[in-house]
Symmetry: C2
Subunit: 161 residues, 2 copies
């Protein structure tokens, strides 16, 4: 049975911050990555489009990096939201994170045409800075490992009125 994320943090990002090409629900042209809890870990499931190839048969590394990136910021948001006493769906607005750094090790070629599952393990470094270790699976095999350091969105990203 295909894994599915039901309650995704990106579903409840404030409208002003829901335009991300990777995970913004309001970006019509984007990937619409969606990240939720899976036990004590986090999960994003995404099936690449046919154009997201490196060479025929294999997924583009930049797409995998993008998946890990948004999975990281989404996971950090879920974790801080929970630390603050909230869960997706309780009506509270989650914190919005941005990526400070991203690392990806491409373990093996990633086959196309199947769902990719990113699983995250979240660690607090500082109240506003979280680390997310990520594994990306295709057909139950790890194809990439990543690490995202995510920080609460600084004011330099906020709209200049």
């Amino acid at each position: 049975m295909e894994k599915k994320v039901v309650n995704a943090v990106q579903d409840i990002y404030p409208d002003d911050f829901a335009w991300c090409y990777g995970c913004g629900r309001l970006n019509e042209d984007g990937h619409h990555f969606r990240t939720g809890w899976q036990g004590e870990q986090t999960m994003t499931v995404y099936t690449p489009e046919k154009e997201h190839k490196a060479i025929p048969g294999f997924v583009y590394g930049g797409l995998i990096a993008s998946l890990i990136d948004c999975h990281g910021t989404g996971s950090a948001s879920l974790a801080l939201h929970r630390k603050n006493g909230h869960e997706v769906g309780d009506g509270a607005e989650p914190p919005r994170f941005v990526t400070a750094s991203l690392k990806v090790d491409f373990v093996k070629p990633t086959p196309d045409g199947v769902p990719l599952t990113a699983i995250g393990t979240v660690t607090e470094i500082h109240p506003k800075k979280w680390k997310v270790d990520v594994e990306v699976f295709a057909n139950d095999a790890v194809c990439a490992r990543g690490e995202v350091v995510a920080v609460v969105m600084p004011s330099s990203f906020k709209k200049q009125d």
Copy 2:
């Protein structure tokens, strides 16, 4: 005056390996990143599309990671091609690299609507393994720094006939 890459290594990748979503000239839906020499360094210039945003006004980190990724493999290809006595345009087929690992530090929010310029410095680690240090500029300010370890495409990526 806008910087422009004239002789790009992606222009001469063999057709079978020119489908990359990031830099493949044959992928109609892709970004078409193009990488060439700029003195002893390498350069890719790309203006993100309007949908490639993180939040309104700023470029999506996954797009920047993708730019660094393909700039890295393209730069490694240029460097090994030169080491082998060839330049883009002399009729020889360049080596094709894949990414072993990718690191990106997002130094500051990257403004949208302007060309991004990736500049690479290439170091040989091993005849089949090269490191590319990358800086991404917008409006002459460094917005991201990256490191790509690229390896000559292994046989596991080759078409299974």
